[in-house]
Amino acid sequence: MHPASSVIIFTTFSGTGYGLMMVLLATMLLGWLPRDPSLVLYGLLLSFALVTIGLLSSTLHLGHPERAWRAISQWRSSWLSREGLMALITYVPMGVLIITAFMNLPDNEVLGTVENAVTSVAATMGEGHMVSQLHDTWVSVMMVLGVICAGLTVFTTAMIYRSLKPVAHWHNGFVVPLYLLMSLMAGSMITVFFMVGFGYDLSYVGVSSMALIFATFGLKLNYWRAMNRMEPTSTMESATGLGHLGKVSVLEQAHTEDNYLMKEMGYQVARKHADKLKFYYRLFAFICFLTITAISIWQFNQWWVMAISALSLIISLLVERWLFFAEAKHAVALYYGKK
């Protein structure tokens, strides 16, 4: 499949945004992190920005972006429609929490937190942050809703791919857990950065993040192994129905130039490029793991460690998603002799 940058940006950005929302709110609900209004505000604002950039990028690649609103109408049958609808619904708890957090900021907190995030850890450990926490029941309800909605949105995104039978690389049991794990992993790493920035003790969050990076990495390697061993759903013989006469090969292409089908669905990445990219994915996932371990276990939380960590996260996410598209083979390519 053609790895369109709009779709790669959409799935990685929005996946990360929803992951951040899920992890940030879940850690607060679990009591691993105080319900600091400024942390909720900045965390969810970043999540809002990532999700919105992703969604805008996905609508811009449409032939008719001005008709995008129609896409939420067919939720009864279409996973793309369900995703659009869930993305809109998720803005509700996200928006309510952002506004509530803003209303509950202590005086001059807006400027204060920015300063605190940059200055030393000790300064932010003071009483300032604990003054007003969001403990109302309805805030908890909104947080629970936020986690569920964000999770469902990532789930529906994954189901768009999972449900496409002609693409065997997508139509399998790995895709949904991979999308959810990638999202949670990215979200947990950003939550760690926020907690360090705000001077909170990482406790379980650092370890959870390490576990998530490890689990995602393991599942991805298993996915690649399974894809290498996979028997194709369809063959040139079943595509033409001529298998009873013998092996089918292309004698004459249907057209001289690449058409839409070839450009969109006939994309094939060279094996050596794929192998090289998989090496980069392994390398940068390992750096993610190493830096998060350094931050959470050895308290090695200099800004440059977090910068390396964040950069490695971005690279590994983009490489993974690019390969997810580029390596996926569509059944229609069989008609053109691409096995």
Binding site: S77, G246, K247, S249
Partner: protein, 247 residues
């Protein structure tokens, strides 16, 4: 609505393509383009048609395959026209987020409403056959309409109310009719010739059927020996005589 029709009429208009007859002359593809460039889905874009990199939407394309028998090593050429199969379980319809893609309950034809299509291309990803092509000049998806603007067109004479590809086939390799009716001509043809579905494992339940090429008549062993004898000519004394006399 992009749900499949809950109460289909039972009528399934479709094509039966005879691979034993098709010689890949491309008349069907050209007439399809000609008719549809002005019909229901007009215009069908044609970029750089006489230049180095022509590009455009075609609803019907003819592939050429070579099939090689693993037992005998003999091969045969099969020309293979492919267009939308108007599937009963059309995945291109159910994935559509806007309702632009739909299957008609009255005759099973799958169509795209160009007024509401957002051009997300997901339907083309969902179709294993490559029946849908994106028109980047219009920003919408295009596909075979089963010439819905011909087959019910009362301005045309009755015998012309068939899809353009069927009307133009000079060899009679394409048949049109109701595949939902077991007594129709096309259904009986499918029955008699062992018509089959493309990629049944994709579970799309195509309406269009393909008739397999008839088994090639391979030379019998006896005939082969006879022919070789004729080619080699006489042997021994007769060969000497033959050579002596044929100077």
């Amino acid at each position: 609505m992009t749900c499949l029709p809950k109460e289909p009429s039972g009528k399934k208009l479709g094509l039966v393509i005879d691979l034993d007859i098709c010689v890949g002359c491309q008349a069907c593809t050209v007439n399809c383009k000609e008719w549809n460039a002005g019909g229901h889905s007009n215009p069908l874009h044609d970029k750089d048609p006489y230049g180095g990199e022509p590009d455009g939407v075609w609803f019907n394309r003819v592939h050429g395959y070579e099939v090689t028998s693993e037992e005998t090593g003999n091969s045969q050429t099969v020309y293979f026209p492919k267009s939308c199969l108007h599937c009963d379980d059309a995945p291109c319809v159910t994935v559509c987020p806007t309702g632009a893609s739909y299957k008609r309950s009255e005759d099973g034809i799958v169509l795209v409403n160009a007024e509401t299509c957002i051009g997300c291309k997901l339907c083309s990803w969902a179709c294993p056959y490559g029946a849908r092509e994106y028109d980047d000049t219009q920003g919408v998806m295009k596909k075979c309409t089963m010439c819905v603007d011909r087959i019910y067109n009362e301005n045309l004479s009755e015998d012309a109310r068939v899809p353009a590809c069927v009307s133009s086939c000079p060899a009679g390799a394409r048949h049109f009719g109701d595949l939902g009716d077991p007594n129709s001509g096309v259904s009986q043809l499918v029955e008699a010739r062992g018509g089959y579905d493309l990629m049944p494992e994709q579970e799309t339940k195509p309406v269009n059927k393909y008739l397999p090429p008839r088994a090639k008549q391979h030379m019998k062993e006896e005939t082969g020996k006879q022919l070789k004898k004729q080619q080699d000519g006489p042997k021994g004394l007769m060969k000497l005589l033959d050579q002596a006399l044929s100077w």
